[in-house]
Amino acid sequence: MTYPSAPYDLHQPASVDEAMALMTRYPDALYLAGGTDLVVNLRRRIREPGHVIALRRIGDLRGIALDGGHLTIGALTTISAVAAHPEVQRRMPALAEAAGLVAGPTIRNMGTQGGNLCLDTRCRYYNQSFFWRKANDFCLKKDGEVCHVAPGGSFCWAAYSGDTAPVLLLHDAELELVSPQGARRVTLAEFYGSDGRWSVGTEPGGLRPGELLLRVHVPLPPAGAACVYEKLRVRDSIDYPLVGLALRVDWADEAARRIGAIAMALTAVNPRPERVGGLEPLTGATLDMAAVAHLQKQAHRTGKPMRTTVADPAYRRAMIGTLVEKACTRLARELDGPLMEQARWA
């Protein structure tokens, strides 16, 4: 048995200007890109707009361009196009890797880069049918009074679970936004809020009502920078991450594994994709098991897996450490250094 969404009118503008005019006329409207998140949520009556503005006819928002030292990705570029793009694979392989690990092939064909960054946060008590949620007295994030994950509080822990955000965070991506009020540019880091209810849209840099993401701008990493993405999920064929981790090293001396700068970001374990702090002591250090231990400690301080998925939070927490080790070993494997011999699971 299926449950229809609340009825809405669908608009299909052919240009950004037309989209802005529609948004001015229907301020409660939501944008629809590939629909692989939004249509599911409409069917579950998690989102109930009277109007939906489908973006797929706006051709100029599709495609990837390389100009100067920047990669520009149109918000409507499909995830599979990002994963398969030769320049992305060559200049920013971790982004191609993360995109290639989103969902399964059909969904990657439909889902877009913009939708991936604007993804609604996820929780086992929220991503359910209306019938299911009603039987469970709903929850704080939608229609209800309490949070079933942390019942005493007034905070929502639903996790942002997009795969490409952590890699883009480590590459200092910026977002080009436009609304009927005007255009602006924000960093990806200031885009997300800390409360799972509105992870996108609470911060000054967050998506405002009616605002449209046009393009993602990413400065290309210099030679000597390496980045990998590691993902834990239930079924490798299709599932959202239980934990996702991006690690970037800008080598001071690659052969000696001496770190010039190191950065790490997590997804699926907090209401927003989160950069891990406290890594400064590793500048100038060697990427060895002591460095791995420091990265693990800091990652555990940042990642706060809660009971938002079917998998046990303790398991996800333990796996944060494992993914750190795996990412470090992959970065070191290319160098074939002694870290390889030390890594117990290699």
Partner: protein, 166 residues
């Protein structure tokens, strides 16, 4: 608010008035009687609703009907010809790639999209190509064998055609 759309479904041109929140799967199944396409999960998880939109595999449960205005849609009903089953269907039949059959139309359409792009896929490529499609019965191995059978058969047909000349 209804929108008039024109599209080609399985080679036949149609005009339909569709509602804003009407999904492609609802148009296909409930109004056009093309019930080969299945609604499994109503949420992107299972792939039973996979159809081809301009040749690309697409989940019809997540696609607004109005969004396919001007597109060419192929459903499982569009594969067999008066000459008999399509080689992919034949593969699923002979290699027992179908048990309860619920996932089969989606599997076949995903396999069609895969073989159109990669006529000679390795077993690993078949797994990756069908990763969006869930089967609760077969254990997948017979599905991979079915697609391999189809790839071989299609290859022979292409060879025969090129040998035969125009």
């Amino acid at each position: 608010m209804k929108t008039l759309i024109s599209l080609i479904i399985n080679g036949r041109k149609r005009e339909e008035a569709v509602g804003g929140s009407e999904l492609l799967i609802e148009l296909l199944r409930d109004r056009l009687g093309l019930t080969g396409t299945k609604m499994g999960c109503d949420g992107g998880d299972c792939g039973a609703c996979t159809v081809l939109v301009d040749g690309e595999p697409t989940l019809s449960c997540l696609t607004p009907a109005a969004a396919v205005d001007g597109c060419e849609i192929t459903t499982v009903e569009g594969l067999a010809t008066s000459g008999g089953l399509h080689p992919i269907q034949e593969g699923f039949h002979l290699k027992l790639g179908s048990q309860c059959g619920f996932c089969t139309p989606g599997m076949i359409m995903a396999a069609k999209a895969l073989l159109d792009k990669h006529p000679e896929p390795s077993p690993q490529e078949i797994r990756a190509g069908l990763a969006n499609n869930l089967c609760r019965c077969t254990g997948y191995n017979s599905i991979i064998a079915s697609v391999q059978y189809a790839a071989e058969k299609l290859k022979q047909a292409t060879r025969a055609r090129t040998r035969g000349g125009p």
